[in-house]
Symmetry: C2
Subunit: 443 residues, 2 copies
């Protein structure tokens, strides 16, 4: 469904009835300040709706799953929530029983402080793995944030900053569209730069066929004033995530904390709709649009990323084959370093296709390049044979900061795409860190 | 079986009856010289036995499989061979029908030049993918090499140089041991530095359960004067490769050309033996030793490699699970960059375990460090909980150029190990290449 959406200001507080704020409460660097942002990035935010919301969520399928995910899954399953507390600087992952106590203490203090019902708060965390939460700071952060809540673009910007870790930029979006005759808004923010290849499901349970090499913490929070049943919202989110956050990879590492939550407070006053209605199509398309805008911002802001490549596989024997082929190419160290070099090295691409679990027939493979979204493809390989395109022409096609890589396997109807990053010296430099300064060592 | 082997000089010509030589014939840089080594690395070698040999081989399971592999598979299946021609600088992969013609022309010219029977020569190639072979240079190289053949350590060194691509060092070994009362020798050489995670099988056909993320060209050539039936030799090689070359990873990329060949000329005069004999155990152990020495040289000389880590997984539900867990850790960009930084980041390790296809239970996982081969392990995590080991102690354990990473899943009896490299800025720098100088762009 092709629809046009009007961009609006305010991100997660663009929809009526939502408020947010973000503070620095010293989770990132113990001891340098409390409750205020003394030159530090904010590290705690609350998002709250004036009224209870339908809620949907998608969570990491990593078997090592952080405490905040374990707290959220059963709460989201009940379909109703009103607030989210999120911190950066500590993932509360691999923190055992204490971690579960801390995550529960976070949602309970949030509920109490905001005066909302027990069980109506959710929690997200991102940062270093294996360190217990500095709960004194976290609790004072929650208390400090509550009186600051507001619904301006500045409030949204505080929240978008508070969830950042190695991100260099806040990532926000908001749109407005018509749904059942009413004006509805969708707002969102996300974070993520490394440990990025989400593979999320609604329960955190692994699908029977696990996508190849899933993997970095991304957190996404979406708000809307649409009136929608939680089950319908979950169906829309599952499809939206499948076509956005679950299609990106920076480094192929799936995090312990990946989470996307949507809160829908119903204040737009539209009539609720089922999954077979035309309204669902409109809402689904809008939600996918918001998720995709946010997902692409993660790849573009990935650690050390210079080039972003959309890997488009068509003609695979099955969708699973197309997905496996796209992920093999998108995660190959040799392909990613060649992208960094601006080298249209189809040999490395066909090599990665060949070792992927997808069925490949060398004499049928086409490989080509285009501008993002363009159908004007410069083919380097057709049916396994080099074309007459010159090396210089191919280099020009692989030179832009963003381009599309087209792979046609010509074996069937399966198609899939991945939004992928190159692999650069800066990525390595950043992630090797400095053992003499543990604050440089990310999750 | 624990056996001691005596190291000897001469590598692939250490066993009696083998001769070799290597020349520069301008495959690597067209136009700068012919038949002689004018300051360039050699790029073509012949290995020949005085008498026909039993032969065994293991080949890439990549579905995109180079012409030399396609030529070798049916020849090796016949169990008899007498010579091998190998070139570097061009992989003869993705070269279509012309590539097959060229690979066949190489073996035929070798047979004719050396005066051996039709079908008795094998071929190996490594280098850039997708460029047809410069056959004029290759043919003159074969003709130039034949009169230079000899059996000194210097001849072996020429051959070991001629198969190198991005390798910084030649890789050779030879041992002597007793077999059925006779003195027997095994010699070997190999190449490989990037596009390294071999997954080889005897026919190039993929096993039902494909190891996760296989992948770079490695070539290995082994000679012996043992008398052994081809079928017995193949059984020994399959087991030796499974425990050596198929256990290494530099960058997780499996090549189109991975090949290991063994020629056994029988001149030691031992009595032939079956796979259930004690002699088989001795030979198997010796062959595995040779393969493992060579395989480890590949990881240590991997592109930009600073640290080599042996990932030892025990207690997995199955061997397949242990293999999957070891490969997920050994190929994680975040784990590999942390090794480069000397950072004992168990959070990234357990994250990679969690997204691997292996069953993992967080509260059962142990992670620790030791010196290579040592059982004195410093545990950072026991049953999912951080130990009292200090960060400084753990950093010391992860600081050496080589160390062992111990992972116990405590769920069953499955064990596997991987010899893995870190991921460095130099790897990226090397592999991004320079598009203005295509000679820098590897396969």
């Amino acid at each position: 469904m092709k629809l046009k959406f009007k961009d609006v200001e305010g991100a997660i507080v663009a929809p009526p009835g939502f408020r947010t704020a973000g503070v620095f409460c010293d989770i990132k660097r113990l001891g340098t300040g409390k409750g205020s942002n003394k030159g530090q990035k904010r590290d705690l935010t609350l998002i709250v709706s004036d009224v209870p919301c339908s809620v949907a969520g998608m969570f990491t399928t990593n078997q090592i799953c952080a405490a905040p995910v374990k707290v959220c899954v059963p709460r989201v399953a009940k379909g109703i929530a009103q607030a989210v507390v999120v911190n950066s600087g500590n993932a509360n992952a691999c923190t055992g029983k204490q971690g579960m106590k801390d995550a529960l203490a976070m949602v309970r203090l949030t509920e109490k402080t905001l005066g909302i019902k027990d069980g109506y708060a959710l929690v997200g965390s991102t940062g270093r793995i294996g360190v217990t939460m500095p709960m004194e700071e976290v609790c004072s952060g929650i208390l400090a944030t509550a009186p600051l809540l507001g619904d301006t673009a500045d409030h949204a910007a505080q929240a978008a900053e508070a969830i950042m870790t190695s991100d260099t930029k806040p990532k926000q979006v908001a749109i407005e569209f018509k749904l059942g005759g009413k004006t509805v808004r969708l707002g969102g923010m996300c974070k993520g730069a490394g440990m990025i290849q989400p593979g999320m499901s609604a329960t955190g349970a692994r699908p029977a066929a696990l996508p190849q090499g899933l993997h970095a913490t991304m957190l996404g929070f979406i708000t809307t004033d649409a009136a929608i049943e939680a089950k319908v919202l979950q169906a829309a989110l599952r499809e939206a995530v499948a076509n956005s956050f679950n299609r990106i990879t920076v480094d192929g590492d799936m995090s312990t904390n990946d989470t996307v939550l949507v809160l829908a407070n119903g204040l737009a006053g539209n009539k609720k709709f089922g999954v077979r209605s035309s309204e669902f199509g409109v809402f689904q398309t809008a939600l996918t649009h918001v998720c995709l805008v946010l997902a692409k911002k993660i790849v573009c802001d990935g650690e050390g990323v210079h080039r972003v490549v959309t890997v488009r596989v068509e003609g695979a024997k099955s969708i699973a084959d197309a997905d496996a082929a796209a992920r093999a190419v998108a995660n190959s160290a040799l392909v990613k370093t060649s992208w960094h070099g601006g080298d249209p090295n189809w040999g490395r691409i066909i090599d990665a296709l060949g070792y992927s679990p997808a069925t490949i027939v060398e004499s049928k493979v086409d490989i080509g390049y285009s501008a993002p979204g363009s159908r004007k493809v410069l083919w380097s390989l057709k049916r396994g044979q080099p074309t007459k395109a010159t090396y210089k022409e191919l280099c020009s096609a692989a030179a832009p900061k963003e381009f599309d890589l087209h792979i046609r396997l010509n074996l069937g109807q399966g198609a899939a795409l991945m939004y992928a990053a190159d692999l650069t010296e800066e990525y390595v430099e950043f992630n090797k860190g400095d053992v003499t300064d543990p604050t440089t060592l990310g999750g």
